[in-house]
Symmetry: C3
Amino acid sequence: MTQTSTATRLAPHPDRLLPADPGARRVARTVYDTVKDAPIISPHGHVDAALIAADQPFSDPASLLITPDHYVLRLLHANGVDLGALGRADLSATGTVPPEPDGRAVWRNLADHWDDFLGTPVRYWFETELHDVFGLTEQPSAANADAQYDHIAGLLASPAFRPRALFDTFGIEVLATTDGPADDLAAHAQLAADPTFTGRVVPTFRADAVFDPTRPDWRPVVDAVGQAAGIDTGTHAGLLAALRARRQYFIDHGATATDTGVLDAGSAPLSSAERERIHAAALRDPSSLTEAEATAYRHDMLFRWAEMSVEDGLVMQLHPGVIRNHHAPTLERFGPDTGHDLPAVGSFTTPLRPLLEAFGTAPGFHLVLFTVDETVFSREIGPLAGFYPAVYAGAPWWFIDTPAAIGRYRSAITDSASFTKTSGFIDDTRAYCSIPARHDMARRADAAYLASLVVTHEISEEDAVRTAGRIVSDIPRATFKL
Amino acid sequence: MTQTSTATRLAPHPDRLLPADPGARRVARTVYDTVKDAPIISPHGHVDAALIAADQPFSDPASLLITPDHYVLRLLHANGVDLGALGRADLSATGTVPPEPDGRAVWRNLADHWDDFLGTPVRYWFETELHDVFGLTEQPSAANADAQYDHIAGLLASPAFRPRALFDTFGIEVLATTDGPADDLAAHAQLAADPTFTGRVVPTFRADAVFDPTRPDWRPVVDAVGQAAGIDTGTHAGLLAALRARRQYFIDHGATATDTGVLDAGSAPLSSAERERIHAAALRDPSSLTEAEATAYRHDMLFRWAEMSVEDGLVMQLHPGVIRNHHAPTLERFGPDTGHDLPAVGSFTTPLRPLLEAFGTAPGFHLVLFTVDETVFSREIGPLAGFYPAVYAGAPWWFIDTPAAIGRYRSAITDSASFTKTSGFIDDTRAYCSIPARHDMARRADAAYLASLVVTHEISEEDAVRTAGRIVSDIPRATFKL
Amino acid sequence: MTQTSTATRLAPHPDRLLPADPGARRVARTVYDTVKDAPIISPHGHVDAALIAADQPFSDPASLLITPDHYVLRLLHANGVDLGALGRADLSATGTVPPEPDGRAVWRNLADHWDDFLGTPVRYWFETELHDVFGLTEQPSAANADAQYDHIAGLLASPAFRPRALFDTFGIEVLATTDGPADDLAAHAQLAADPTFTGRVVPTFRADAVFDPTRPDWRPVVDAVGQAAGIDTGTHAGLLAALRARRQYFIDHGATATDTGVLDAGSAPLSSAERERIHAAALRDPSSLTEAEATAYRHDMLFRWAEMSVEDGLVMQLHPGVIRNHHAPTLERFGPDTGHDLPAVGSFTTPLRPLLEAFGTAPGFHLVLFTVDETVFSREIGPLAGFYPAVYAGAPWWFIDTPAAIGRYRSAITDSASFTKTSGFIDDTRAYCSIPARHDMARRADAAYLASLVVTHEISEEDAVRTAGRIVSDIPRATFKL
């Protein structure tokens, strides 16, 4: 009788991520057990509503699990795999028809480099996903790559693995998508009107392009927003009116929040005249703007965003501090979201001051701050959330969405702002099948943190259990007005 | 027979904050036990000497424990409670007599929001204080708010709860206050002359206003310093002479240290002519100064401060990097110290270079550096304290005065500078009754850190015990020349 | 029978630095045991090859263990010991012959201040070294200072303590030195040609001076490189050609890497004309350069360095972010490397962008990034190593080469880039006898980290053992092309 080695066996431990100390583990397990099966509230993500609405079978394992996931792509790329070998089309290869990516070959790349993922949260999610969703019991390897690919491909063809069936299997209660400002939200409407679909899929208003007149898509999006709203966006006042109309359209389709990704959190307002002047200049010729003008326009728009949120009640999520497309040659060949967006130095307290002086105590205003620079949790986001009623400390995001970083986040934020002023977990993912694994990871990490407070007698076990429940339910509902 | 649930019972555990691992806890407890009853040396705080001198009963629980404590205020404010409901007078309500704050109602706000403090060091101190000082055995709640208020109010009326009795009960050996540069120190003199008071209350010279000619109180303080010293401060040389005289006055009244809070730690000296020029311009019209001139004046004054410390031996405490009064509307309504001072990015190594090149090896000069930005412990303060004889690493301060952050501070600083070049614990508090709880917290956190080194065999248990004793006694005495 | 107290006994525990929790310790010990006796690969250090080649006895304990080690010097200096009392010659005492330093007196300073090293990694290494290399069994103290000095001095006179014998005793397989760009590498050639020496000592090409035309040694080094290469460095093209020739010379003598220490990681290329213009101006009169010109020249040279690495395959190590010689008076009296180099704020993602856009995916290019600012591990170095095939995350360096910081480094880097894209341990030391202690410390710290992942079931014990083996062997070999 052969024995699978522990290194090749895929068997996620029931107590994984819980503390090693037996006393702490017992507490953590008690805490975790009370929330592990709670419905998933996902207030921020990138799954396409049309995917759920259409409910078609997924095409193949690689295009589902590897090609669209920039977390996976970047680690394979870092270890020498060309993105072209991972199913990404080479956009620079003009004049030729790109070959259909061979899913089986893509999968083999992952299997060959499985060891290069050791210890990362990406591998952690992936293991849970392969085991819990797809029933695999061996770690991916060159030897089993084809068999595992075929196994998953077989499952994807079955009704139980269609998007809506998985929605139920995953226990998702609310799923927020991210949508362009001119989107007609047809898929959301279709789902809402469909009595056979009992889940809740809500849109999120995201209009990054309108903030920055130097982006090539600024003008097209400004125009599209105007057309969607039936309002001329040739003036800045018109643009704001159109945006207000579109926000209302989103609210009417179930949205409770906006999301914004900007380079920095600057928020100084401009006079109406100055806004109009820069807007008009940008419409005439964006390249005529000085960097200072473009920045001033963007900072003013962030201020207006808050102003609109105070008016219409949409929660304002802010994700600043990402340097997009760091490697121009990769952008040219494979487009954006291919693993080379990188963290910038985070800064909130000073740049957000104008916005917070104006709206930080406005009734009902919720501003959820996210960062990819951990140093700001203790220095900025915690202290801001610990004074301003409007400010909530967003969960650790992207590069720091890891068990260890969640522990550090909790420690830094709890010291300044306790639990109430946090966001609850945000999966922020395009990888539909990783959603339960990611939420489960966060529940375990939070249970571990809460247990650490219990065993040092800082809070009671009863409080820990109650808080874990709040973190997966009451807190995201309240913060995101769900 | 009803059982109080663990969530509502208030019973601080004797082993709280000590590590969970049984082996580490045994060591930590041994270490802690040797220092838990050691006298309190409080070399930096904000209790008013007149309070001790007058020795009048405290008026009521809310005005003692809530209204003046910006740590408590900010968390209640963050969770939606208006500062006006917490006993702070609304300064913008001109023409009307502000209503006497209702202490009982203020207290109820705390009780209602007790859960919003869970896991914070503020709740940790408060629990210890309510239990150890006031004998309460239930967590504050809406149900017991009035009863707890009455219980505390009753105690405050008794002689055992007067300031001097508490001074003894708390086991305070030395208490340093913080005092304006023109203060006559009458309360300190009164206490020193009073044979019935055996404690030691020493002043600390703090003259932030004289550093910054753009502050509205710069001119009044410059004038007041001149009057107090009997020296004309119409010239910068006169101001320096008056400051020297006032420092000597403080020394004569028992002071061993100064304290300075500035926006940044810049310390470049100016020529005498340049100093005089800016000083004269500021006296004529502060609004005529350029930002560069005001900054240069402030940086020069920091250099002079060190120069004076080298001369007269006063320990120089430096607290840079706080953005004061972030929310202008709150400043207008409720004044300063109302919870919206926020941490700036810390920086020491480059801005302090001129000062350290001049005085970093001056015999007897002690410069204690504090920060609210944790990242500088490892990068700047530890390395500076690990080379310059003059530099001491101040305890984590304000937002980072927490059990977890104390552990991170110890780890970062010990790596670069061991224990000798640290400050010992600083309570930095206006909240008189929280002093023993805060020092106890630090002793526990330090015992936990020392135990962590023992159980990994980095230091011996005997060294840990000895070091814990040094941290609460020899080290603050040596660092602050007490 | 007297019993030595635990505080005075010097007996490094076999399980030191391994986690306290019994379960975690068992795993960590298993992991550590498999690598503790593995040969030492030291791909970056500052031992002089001539020391090994000459193989003369070391002169005395103080000049071997104290005087040249700036880690030890800075802590003694921080606690009040003048560098002149530690064997450093006072360069400012012109006209007098400096007295021969008294090794015994120098050693006594260490013994007197032994307590000021408690908890630091410096004491940790020193203890291991004194015990394992020199067989001492008591902590240094005033009482035993002379006896310990004599004991070590006696050993140093014996053949077993000559450099080559220690090379074998220490189990060193490869030792990389750091060498000037005009060095003839005679010692390396001698060692390579000597059939009685079986170790491998390889040079590393370091030419910091040529980056910065404002350094007083820029011109001499530029001239020396030209002479050594037989190429006129009067033009920038000539300098690059000479550097290429010298790099090839190093490769011919076994080098696999370069090393560069610059103030910042800026890497913007200049046009050939602009480079030549600044080069010519600097040759005429370096003081005529503007700061912007000098910086542009330096940033371009970093770009060229990568270009040359892509061409010739030398691994490029980068150590930016150190403020050299912070205390001018100490520099004047005692020269550089006397403990007052200090960390600057780290920055990689933005300044390295030009270099990485050009070479980040170049086949075979290895760029190993080091920092003394921990905050960049999570925010910059991990994410860069997690996308760019060329980028490797260098081990924590200098101030952060400590057990605790190694744990934080592993946590931050593993989250973004796993283990493959790291450097393995770098001792970076001039202190020859500390090499085994430092590598042992890193092996213990890594075992502790790996065990922490095992006990939380993030990786298997089998994977932990395998990874520990890779970290001490395969990974440094691959990263440094050894």
